[in-house]
Amino acid sequence: MIVAERKPLSEIIAKVEGYNRLLIVGCNTCVAVCQAGGEKEVAMLAAALRLRFRDRQPAMEIIERSVERQCEEEFNQVLAEDIAHAEAVLSMACGVGVQTLVEQFPDAIVLPAVNTKFMGRPEERGVWSERCIGCGNCVLDKFGGICPITRCAKSLLNGPCGGSENGRCEVDPENLECAWQLIYDRLARLGQLDRLLEIEPPKDWSTARYGGPRKIVRKDMVL
């Protein structure tokens, strides 16, 4: 899923200070699961902002809404009236959700309330970590199912650098495992260590972000 994190309150406060009618819109998909922007987070943010501006006269009006998936216009349709009423919209969805609102409601001022971080998974309760950078050309089969592009800090494809120590990555030994240690262990477990003898040619990054914004068109699905 897409993993996000609420922006510091002070930053949000600075963004919304100039408005008096605010709509906060959460998204009950990825950002709800990673506890950054679901219905509960919307309610918390709203309560916090009301408290922050509690002395303002007239009182700041804050409307709280959450939609099923903010990246889909159909789900956002119910927001039309509130968006028209609000001076600004604070979106707690990922960046995709924010931009969907912008495209769908071209007159609205839409502000992001979360930082969209990565595609990842929950390792345990309250801990999420990145698993995929969306390079557009999956090579997981070659590395025992562990992605060196995402999980190696240097995205190395032909073995570890010199900074791997006790299975940890030199970039952040406390928090990062060396992906190449994981790959080695996994291949050893599968009895496929010989795969490491194959030299991996330089990666074609054109399928990744470096080819510009990407788009998929399924011809069979477009009339």
Binding site: A32, V33, E41, S66, E124, R125
Partner: protein, 387 residues
Amino acid sequence: MSQATPVAKQVLVLGASSEAARAVKELLALGYKVLWVSGDELPSNGLDSPALAKYANCRLYALEGHVGRFVSHFLHQGQRLALSTSAIIVATGNERYFPAERYGLELSSLVWTTSQVKEQLKKPLPQSVLAFRDKRILLLLDWSGETSKELVSESFSLAGELCERCRSEVYFFYRDLTVDSPGWEQRTRELRDKGVVFCRYGEPEVTVGEAAVSISYLEGTVEGDLLVLPEAVRPRGDTAELAEILQVRLGEDGYFQELNIRKYRAGLSARKGIFFAGRCHMDCDASEAESDALQVVAAVDALLGQGALEPEEVIAYVDPSKCIRCLTCVRTCPHAAVQVVEYEDMDVVAARVDELACWGCGACASNCPVQAIEMVGQEMPAWVQGV
């Protein structure tokens, strides 16, 4: 919502320990159907009844359901076996080992464990007695670390038996003499009367020679023919695996049941309907373990004896139409009462709190990212809903 659910008076007892046997016997006497299952051999101690089904050498590999309707899945003689019970008593006991490293000593003809002495004493006469006849035996307790109650108790018994049956001269070395169980002080006094010599040490010096052993302590040196060391106990090797299957947490020390004064000794696990009895969760000797089994049976009967279960006054309820199946509640619930299931009548997949397994603690509700869980029966002020 608070309707009583009928439950069968049927209990699964896990383990081959003496406390398991005691629990089985007591449950049968109370009219329960008992399924007695162990990964090892089961003792053949005349416990037979039409209400008892025994399965030895049987491995639990999965547990489904909740209190009142657990389904345990076993592998038994190559066959899969599913057993339904209303409650589960875990009485798997503990495991003994000789802590050679801690003692810095190897077992030999001069250095025995308490178990070895016990085994020898069980042999037929005169073998059993001759091994210790007129010998001076040095029993050394709590040397280099903790000593379990079970082994202290056993050492007391051995010291008495050696004195009485074998006319051995027994020296009982200790740092702190454990007498904190009813009647134990009396036991030590009786041992003194039988001739056991109690010696307190600070840091003893143990020497194992060619033909004799000696212990130097505060008041001098005692030489003997045999050094007897208690073994140590630890959680059984399969405890962690079993805990995972039962979805209960282990304490820091690897035994069942975290030390929690609200629960420990009461035999209650964090999961309703799962109970711990005896040495798999507490430090006690064999007879205390059996007593523990009895009080656990009393708790089981208080739960199931009336033939029906009722939910707590406050329980969590998931609104399936709001649930986003994020698993937060499943991961948070300390009582393993939440699962993501298919609501057949509503044709949705969502989290469901088992109303009988729920303790009503509310951890799921306060963690839910979409406010889909309500604590039914909990009164909250109006402002909680927003001003």
